[in-house]
């Protein structure tokens, strides 16, 4: 590929990165504001108008803190773990379609790429737990790795049911296949399973056992400080944003504008693209809100409940859903 044809991709890459970091930072801000709202508090409102500069202040504060690694820690892995987490989160944006033909790399295994890259997060968390050489961190890392891999199977099966409906692994094709009806209406059980596993995969409440404060202090990132702690934090919120984006792509028509077939063809190309980008980020923003809303509403599971839910209920349910969706596909 010549450099000229790569230039728009580079521009898109820069824009997507900027959008991801901004959204992650402001998800932190909105999480604090919304949690305050739910708990009848005020929340951060001092830095800038409505406290909107709070994320910037947080980052600056983290940068000027001392970076401590325990003397007994495995230095190399301790340093590597947060880098893996951030890399895995950032790399996911590669195959998300922001609008029609507005995608970094429309590879023919798009959804497999997403599953593969997000799985790398397990390494970051497990390594951080082990490398810290601290008991809380180790327990958090172990719990987390067991949790992430347990829910990955049900997640894979839910994705599989979407693939059956759209007959393609390309993310753009999956979106286009929902032009008539969104997958959430054709495949509600698959959506529910994917939503639950997405909560588990991002370590969010009600599945935040790897960092359960009352039991494990902070779990796998107990021994991290300064920006390295910030990296785990940013990676977690990036994963929330990205999970929302993937839910949007798989089940809520991605960039498709609701009732778009009625008026979209009359609009000029730039307006269509703009509307599609707005639609994509609007839906993603809604699911980010759902993530926050659920976190401050539902209490945490116990570990035995978590494991039973994953393996005894979600896994068979996901298999059943796959068979039903495939059967419907064969019959109609």
């Amino acid at each position: 590929m010549a450099f000229e044809s790569l230039q728009p991709k580079l521009l898109l890459l820069a824009a997507a990165l900027l959008a991801l970091f901004t959204m992650a930072a402001y998800t932190v801000y909105f999480e604090r504001r919304i949690s305050a709202w739910i708990q009848n508090r005020i929340g951060p409102n001092r830095v800038g108008p409505f406290g909107l500069l709070q994320p910037l202040a947080d980052v600056l504060k983290l940068l000027f803190k001392e970076d401590i690694a325990p003397a007994a820690a495995d230095r190399l892995l301790h340093r590597l773990a947060p880098m893996i987490s951030v890399t895995a989160a950032v790399a996911t944006i590669g195959v998300l379609p922001f609008a029609h033909n507005l995608i970094l790399a429309d590879v023919n295994i798009g959804i497999l790429y997403i599953l593969a890259i997000t799985s790398l997060n397990v390494y970051g968390i497990t390594l951080s737990g082990w490398a810290s050489n601290s008991k809380y961190a180790l327990l958090g890392g172990l719990r987390s790795s067991a949790q992430l891999i347990s829910y990955e199977i049900a997640m894979g099966l839910a994705v599989l049911s979407v693939v059956v409906q759209s007959e393609s692994l390309m993310t753009s094709q999956i979106v286009e296949a929902q032009a008539e009806i969104w997958n959430v209406l054709r495949n509600p059980l698959g959506f529910l399973i994917f939503l639950i596993t997405a909560f588990a995969e991002t370590n969010r409440l009600p599945f935040d056992l790897p960092e359960a404060e009352q039991e494990l202090v902070a779990g796998y990132h107990t021994e991290y400080s300064s920006m390295k702690f910030g990296m785990f934090y940013v990676a977690e919120y990036m994963n929330v944003v990205l999970s929302s984006a993937v839910i949007t792509t798989l089940f809520f028509g991605g960039y498709l504008v609701p009732f778009g077939h009625l008026f979209m063809s009359d609009l000029p190309a730039w307006a269509r693209t703009g509307l599609e980008v707005l639609s994509f980020f609007g839906k993603t923003g809604f699911f980010v809100f759902v993530f926050i809303w659920v976190r401050w509403t539902i209490p945490r599971f116990k570990y035995n409940q978590l494991m039973r839910l994953g393996w005894v209920y979600l896994f068979p349910l996901a298999v059943l859903n796959l068979v039903l969706v495939a059967l419907a596909r064969m019959l109609f």
């Binding site: 325990p70 300064s226 910030g230």
Partner: protein, 145 residues
């Protein structure tokens, strides 16, 4: 066809760069005033007991093994999922049969108690461990004298 992956390679490089930058800056800018107390693992303010390089519950290994087994089975279904209709009914029933076998495996693990993480907590303690009066009293006497 492989050209489509070029932006992904770029993205991976950029992602690694961003991560390295973030980790590097925190080590570079922040103050560095280490002392021995600061560098011990955090255990709620107590002096740490032993190391964290301990043995841990075998159930974690079991879950890891089951993940490999079941995830490979899920991955096997992707080529079928892309062309369900083209492959037709024989393959559909074959997949259903395959999934039934997989589910029997899951049910077997469930019955074996692999997913039962509070089994030990529910079981009554064996009588040898139970604190009986005859055993407890002599110990206390030796402590007092």
């Amino acid at each position: 066809m492989l050209e489509a992956y070029l932006p992904i390679c770029l993205l991976l490089l950029v992602a690694l760069g961003v991560a390295a930058l973030m980790a590097g800056i925190s080590e570079w800018i922040g103050p560095r005033r280490p002392n021995p107390r600061k560098l011990i693992p955090y255990e709620s303010g107590m002096d740490p007991v032993g190391t964290a390089r301990e043995r841990y519950s075998v159930q974690f290994y079991l879950i890891a093994m089951l993940f490999i087994v079941f995830d490979v089975e899920v991955v096997l279904l992707y080529p079928w999922a892309v062309q369900v209709v083209e492959l037709g009914w024989p393959v559909f029933w074959a997949v259903v049969l395959f999934l039934v076998v997989v589910m029997i495996g899951d049910w077997y693990c469930y019955k074996k108690g692999v997913f039962d993480w509070d089994r030990e907590a529910r079981q009554p303690r064996p009588p040898s461990e139970a604190l009986s009066q005859e055993k407890a009293l002599p110990v206390r006497e030796t402590v007092e004298t």
